[in-house]
């Protein structure tokens, strides 16, 4: 059967490509921000901060493209869900870009002081978040629901890492109040990474919707919290009796 609406199909393909480019770009911002933090590289941190404008521009361009497709092509069925998904994904990507900038700012603030401990857990957590992000984008392009499932599962790993880091850094601060400034900075970074993983999970859930039409939360209670609270409260002290 001949393909109808070939021009529209080409537009949809371009939209996917733009989305992949934005995903790659934001992922590189995250990687650079973590590298800047680990290597105490101020120039790289500044570069990440500058790149945010480009991420915002990509967000706007893709949003305009989606709105134009909705207005002029009146997409339905899978196409409608794909465009709705793209609109949600760019919002999540844009937020991930913002968190990367936040991490870069923390890196800048710590660039002239030696770290009180080697930075291991934060880069490890960031590596998982980055892999999740690449997987989520790949699942969108390849319409791969198995990959969606894997991405969502990894959110738990990031959550566990966040809680463990928070506990450890709080204990460090209690032991040595002179560490408060640096440990708080690391807590913020870990928190940003935890929320980045939540946004990636959102993306994966949207891909699931685009492909199945089912709008469900694949990871219970992962949604980024409004405000910047600690969502779930502070962990217990190591010295607290187990409840």
């Amino acid at each position: 059967m001949p393909m109808l609406r070939a021009a529209f199909a080409a537009d949809m393909e371009d939209l996917e490509k733009q989305l992949v480019r934005m995903g790659d770009f934001v992922e590189s911002m995250l990687a650079s921000a973590i590298k800047a933090l680990a290597e105490q590289n101020e120039a790289l941190a500044n570069e990440v901060i500058l790149r945010d404008d480009l991420a915002d521009e990509m967000d706007l361009t893709i949003e305009q493209r989606c709105m134009r497709l909705l207005a002029l092509q009146q997409p339905l069925g899978h196409d409608l869900r794909t465009i709705g998904t793209a609109l949600k994904i760019i919002a999540d990507l844009e937020r991930i870009g913002d968190y990367s900038v936040d991490i870069a700012r923390v890196a800048k603030s710590l660039v002239h002081e030696p770290y009180f401990k080697p930075l291991v857990d934060i880069p490890a957590m960031a590596a998982i978040a980055s892999e999740m992000l690449r997987g989520a984008i790949r699942s969108f392009v390849n319409k791969d629901l198995e990959l969606v499932r894997q991405v969502c599962q990894r959110d738990d790993e990031v959550d566990r890492a966040w809680h463990s880091l928070l506990r450890e850094l709080m204990a460090s601060m209690e032991r040595d109040p002179s560490l408060v400034r640096q440990a708080t900075a690391f807590i913020l970074v870990a928190r940003y990474l935890e929320r980045i993983a939540d946004h990636v999970t959102n993306i994966a859930e949207r891909v699931n919707y685009a492909e199945t039409g089912e709008m469900t939360e694949l990871v219970r209670g992962h949604r980024p919290h409004l405000g910047d609270g600690l969502g779930g409260g502070l962990p217990e002290r190591d010295s607290d009796p187990p409840t």
Binding site: M3, L4, R5, P75, L76, G77, L80
Partner: protein
Amino acid sequence: MSGGTDNPREPGDPGLSTPDASAGVHTLKPGVRITSEPADLPPAPVKMETRGVRVYYGEDQALRGVDLAVREHEITAVIGPSGSGKSSLLRCLNRMNDLVPQVRVEGQVLLEGQDIYAPDVDGALIRRRVGMVFQTPNPFPLTVFENVAYGPRRHGITDRAQLEGIVEDSLRKAALWDEIVQDNALRRTALGLSGGQQQRVCLARVLAVEPEVILMDEPASALDPISAYRIEELMLQLRHSYTIVLVTRNLFQASRVADTTGVLIDGQLIEYGSTPQIFERPRDKRADDYVRGRIG
């Protein structure tokens, strides 16, 4: 018809119940079943139903076993490519096919649980209960008044005042009365009206005989966008008192007005569901391809 005019329907219809036109109130009549399909809509009484309907034009088969439950006081849209059998299906619902030679209809078509093709059922009576508006406005070459009064007259109403009441009521329901009065057009030929007005005269003509179901076959496809929107607005108002089945190739018209939508392809109803479900997340691959414009 509301508003105190006499009901022109003869008493003692052959086992078919009288409609309760009071808006929004479902009084379940004997033989009428409640459907819980589609699952994402509240249950509703089934006004009309086709069961395994097959239609043949000589050797050619237009419908290949269609099961469709039309929910009362809702708009059911039937969409599908050209030649998929949409109009054939619609014409089965009021035995319009009776008038076409070489047509054979198999299966059952139920109106409130009664088979309208049963031997003792009068086709003309069915066409009064199940009226039809066609693609091209087809007013008679008579005055607007005579167009609308035509049906009631044929059903034996001769009282002038009563006829005037029916004509005004029907034209009001068709959202045409004010325009007709303003233009002093009631006693002028309906052929002098615009296309959109002519289509509303045809609708008023259907409403004048107090149908329970209104079938609409591409009712707005020959109209300009504003007239088309006016017809859509009317459908949304009329569904409170009538049950509407709409056949259309205009997917967006269906998505704007219909409560439920069926996708007919090659004489088969391949998917039926709530309108949002059909247009946002059709389950059937062919239905998805059709609404996405990938097959025509």
